[in-house]
Symmetry: C2
Subunit: 295 residues, 2 copies
């Protein structure tokens, strides 16, 4: 099977690398508007060859879109017009608008909208690496609107990447990622800005930052090219989630300023329940790797 | 030299372990109100023996307070009444109130207020481990109010822990830690609460959480026993910092809702400058270890 990967950054490069290495595909054709990235991806061995979009799509059996969600929205209808027998998937962080853009396309059932919940704060082909997806969860949206064989192929692709698949309505996906992914990024960007602004008058403020600060602010390294269009496409959900987050911060502020120590204690005890979630996640990741490696 | 450590949790246990292991002290006496913790600390080899507060202080040359900041505020004046030649330091996250509490004590100059910028989200003697402080920064506050020899001893103690020392006014310390430490904790607690609350109606929401979520929420595992009194003692600064953080989040929300993509891009570019800070921190930590190990 021949795979085309459109977009050779962290996600596209890592997927190309592992699908070839683990023999899911026999050849990977790379496509990237940025010729420097395309050249680097070839040199790093992420892809076998570089082609333009049209010839890549037409020479392959499977097309993976790994570009920012605004570029994806522009590219997908064109790609759907080019395909014959090919199965197409995307890996974007927002799903409703993209699915809507090809809702009436005659080949809609050859498209499987997906979102692997993996990544780092780095970007570009140099950041791509084997094992990025191991143990994580892949979301496949609205599977009832895709051909069964197409869904099966994409599910097998994710299993090869050692991921577990969860099927979900696109609307639910966009609402839930606003909470567990998009909010984390905005909280980190805002934390970074708040302290960087203070640094202007207190130059040595970062001397006092310890590992806890690094952890909460790490995602603020993430690229605007990727994240601005995600925030735009999911603004309805993000607006609501940000309001809830701001309300919770305000509640903390009020309790602290009113010396309501029991109230603060109660909030922290409640927040501590995240231990259960993080422990369960760790367990799930280990089990997923065991199950998918044995397949 | 004989050391007494008051409070045998993560911080007290780790400091006891490394000061003994690296021959800074010949014997460590442990004190803890919680007899289970005291017993565990002895069994884990963090301390040589357990004594009550009075006999421990009087049998030692140096006293390190590693208890929550509210307990510290109650304990310090009593300890200062017990000492003869002993040097006393504390490791608490807030400094102004504590210093104020012994401002007029006749032995004030035997007390060196300090704050090592290290820790994890775990607590208790079981969480203590060697190397916790390696490469990090230790703050010593208002050194002009302590005896020179006392400051020298505490500086040497931190060098033995492979830390670099920064001298700072307590008021500046409390203001700056509100930004780089206390805010990170509240942002994580609030993030945890926001998503846990949504979990009540959407049970599988955490399936979609990836490593980025884990990173931003990790500090929400931290204990109320430690953090509520910190927020209380530093409420003046924390109130201001939280307001700035909320304003920045509101700015993000407004720009996203108004489709002002250039505005969102600009904020993210600005936030990305945190890369410079985190790279510099990593460099500082490596250099500190090299310099202190060679001493």
């Amino acid at each position: 099977m021949i795979l085309s990967v459109i977009g050779l950054g962290l996600i596209g490069g890592s997927i190309a690398l592992d699908l070839k290495k683990r023999d899911f595909v026999s050849k990977v054709i790379g496509v990237d508007n940025n010729t420097l990235n395309a050249h680097a991806a070839k040199k790093l061995g992420l892809v076998d060859e570089i082609q333009d979009l049209k010839s890549a799509v037409q020479s392959s059996d499977m097309v993976v879109l790994a570009i920012p969600v605004d570029a994806c929205l522009r590219a997908l209808p064109n790609i759907m017009n080019l395909i014959d027998h090919q199965i197409v998937t995307d890996l974007g962080s927002t799903k409703e608008q993209l699915i809507e853009s090809v809702a009436n396309h005659p080949k809609r059932n050859q498209f499987v909208p997906a979102h692997p919940m993996a990544g780092t704060e780095f970007s570009g082909p140099q950041a791509a690496h084997s094992g990025l997806f191991d143990g994580k969860c892949a979301i496949i949206c609205n599977p009832e609107d895709s051909d069964k064989k197409a869904v099966k192929l994409i599910t097998e692709m994710f299993h090869c990447l050692r991921m577990r698949c969860v099927f979900m309505d696109a609307e639910v996906h966009d609402r839930q990622t606003a909470y567990v992914s998009h909010l984390s990024h905005i909280s980190a960007f805002a934390l970074s800005l708040t302290v960087l602004h203070k640094e202007k008058s207190e130059k040595h403020i970062f001397e006092l930052a310890s590992g806890g600060f690094d952890s909460t602010v790490r995602l603020a390294k993430s690229s605007a090219e990727m994240w601005t269009p995600i925030f735009q496409q999911n603004k309805k959900n993000i607006g609501k989630v940000l309001q809830k987050y701001i309300n919770t911060l305000q509640q903390f502020k009020d309790l602290i300023e009113e010396d309501d120590l029991n109230g603060v204690n109660d909030l922290i005890f409640e927040a501590n329940d995240i231990r259960r979630v993080l422990d369960q996640k760790e367990k799930n990741e280990k089990e997923t790797i065991l199950q998918t490696v044995n397949k």
